[in-house]
Symmetry: C2
Subunit: 309 residues, 2 copies
């Protein structure tokens, strides 16, 4: 059973005088999520944010910003185009669209090149690939327009591949529960005070959204033996205030390799000695946002079993 | 300018009482090469082998064996099916079909999965992937039928990516010549006594076939800055008799990473200290052939420049 966990992601910041995004309501967001071929499973809210758990990932809506992540064969770029058309391009301060390293690009409905070709018909923007094509890499498109108010949000994305050991075995088992997974990661401790909304898929797979004030965190697990992929993302400051979170997640899942993408932050975990940063790339967006891409791998000689097809 | 250098490869061994493959003649082989969407550029022969240089790689024909390599958007599996149908499956002792790590799988006309689905309609066989999907990997299909006579041919394939330095700059320049490239690699020394047939493509790119008795060597260079790929393949014994060849090629091109695939051989170059084997995989084919796949990379922290799209 193969599932392409690697996400696509939209981030939109709207002008301060534009319509509040939360006021658009659940029906609006449901319809936008459907454009990407995903569905809303549940929602939790606090005074700042509505966090929607999707059939394939997550949507977080603040009054002036939203983030939408989808994985598998979803068509997130369609949702982005629909949003720009319905909300009005003049009301949008910042747009970014990311596609993460994919296992099997030919199974995707479109390529990143095709996506940016469509996007450029309605919005100016620059696009980049961070990392080599034959290795882990990351695509990003962002609107060229400078943001009136400087964006200082720090966001960290951790993408883990080839999870191994006891944690991985539990996540592939049929006895897993939301409580068990929360305990595995000590989520109550690392996301202290957060409202947590999570879901275990059948036969396996886990999604979690968490919010606390303006902060969010999201965790998505596709544990399949030969294509395991776990992503974690948050706007908590993992560089200075919560450096143990990356270390905790990595120690828990013992991934063979992982990527870190940082926006305005350069978080470093405390990794084992045999871990090496094989690729490092930074990019300054014209909007004063600094993007960091790092690809880490255990350098220990890995003996693999051939995969029968 | 993007070109998918990574090859596909067929190897066929026919029964000792079957029709001599060389006697099928150039017209037959021309027509087979056309099935893969390639063309013959030139041919050299000795008492054992006809070596055809193709518009996209190479074909070597011995009396009881042939090897055909093609790259780019070629459809090598169509040539393999046409050969099996015209020559007769009962006359074939061993079939293998390989596809190497591709940069952009969605630009290929078919996937390996589709290829083996077509092949299995006319020939029984086992298929494997060596190496992780999100990293360098190698696909191989081979006929399950045991070979009557044990195959002890040693074959080494060296696939180099991200070539750098003076050699790489020369190969990307417009002053390159076949003589200059032979000198760069000291081909006359490392392939002492071989008949060499080579060709420089416009604006760049190089292909070489070489034969000496039963031995062959072939070198293909696609030097493009952001997708450079150089492949070398030979049935010389690089493990015991010619260990310096791998080292020479790697030192000349200083690739960021490379794969070694060995059939009945486990060659090791003498690499720099900061080179690590990131993936190692072996496979015993039912035909007593041992396949080795190794992926090497410089572990030095590589700072990359974002690639604008």
């Amino acid at each position: 059973m193969f599932f392409e966990g690697s996400e696509k992601k939209i981030e939109i910041i709207v002008n301060s005088d534009a319509k509040c995004l939360r006021s658009l309501g659940k029906t609006y967001w449901q319809s936008l999520v459907n454009k990407a071929n995903a569905d809303i499973i549940s929602v939790v809210s606090n005074q700042s944010c509505d966090a929607y758990l999707l059939s394939e990932s997550s949507l977080f809506v603040w009054s002036n910003k939203f983030i939408m992540l989808t994985c598998g064969g979803t068509t997130l770029v369609d949702a982005l185009q629909a949003f720009i058309e319905s909300y009005g391009i003049d009301n949008i301060a910042f747009t970014s669209f990311q596609r993460k390293n994919e296992y099997l690009s030919h199974l995707q409905k479109t390529t990143f090149e095709q996506d940016i070709k469509s996007l450029r018909k309605i919005i100016d923007g620059k696009a980049y690939r961070l990392g080599h094509l034959d290795s882990h890499h990351h695509f990003i498109f962002h609107s060229g327009k400078p943001v009136a108010e400087k964006t200082t949000d720090k966001t960290t994305e951790l993408l883990m591949y080839h999870i191994r050991g006891e944690g991985a075995r539990y996540l592939r088992s049929n006895v897993q529960t939301t409580e068990g997974i929360r305990a595995l990661f000590q989520l109550d401790a690392i996301l202290d005070g957060f409202i947590i909304d999570d879901f275990v898929f059948a036969p396996f797979g886990y999604s979690m959204n968490a919010i606390k004030g303006e902060y969010y965190a999201t965790l998505h697990i596709t544990p399949q033996e030969n294509s395991s992929y776990v992503s974690f993302e948050t706007n908590l400051d993992l560089e200075r205030e919560h450096p143990h979170i990356l270390t905790r997640l990595i120690n828990c899942l013992n991934p063979g390799c992982w990527d870190i993408v940082g926006f305005n932050t350069q978080p470093e975990g405390h990794f084992a000695r045999d871990v090496n940063c094989l690729s490092h790339c930074t990019l300054s967006l014209s909007t004063d946002v600094e993007v960091l891409f790092r690809y880490y791998q255990h350098v220990t000689h890995e003996t693999q079993t051939p995969e029968a097809m």
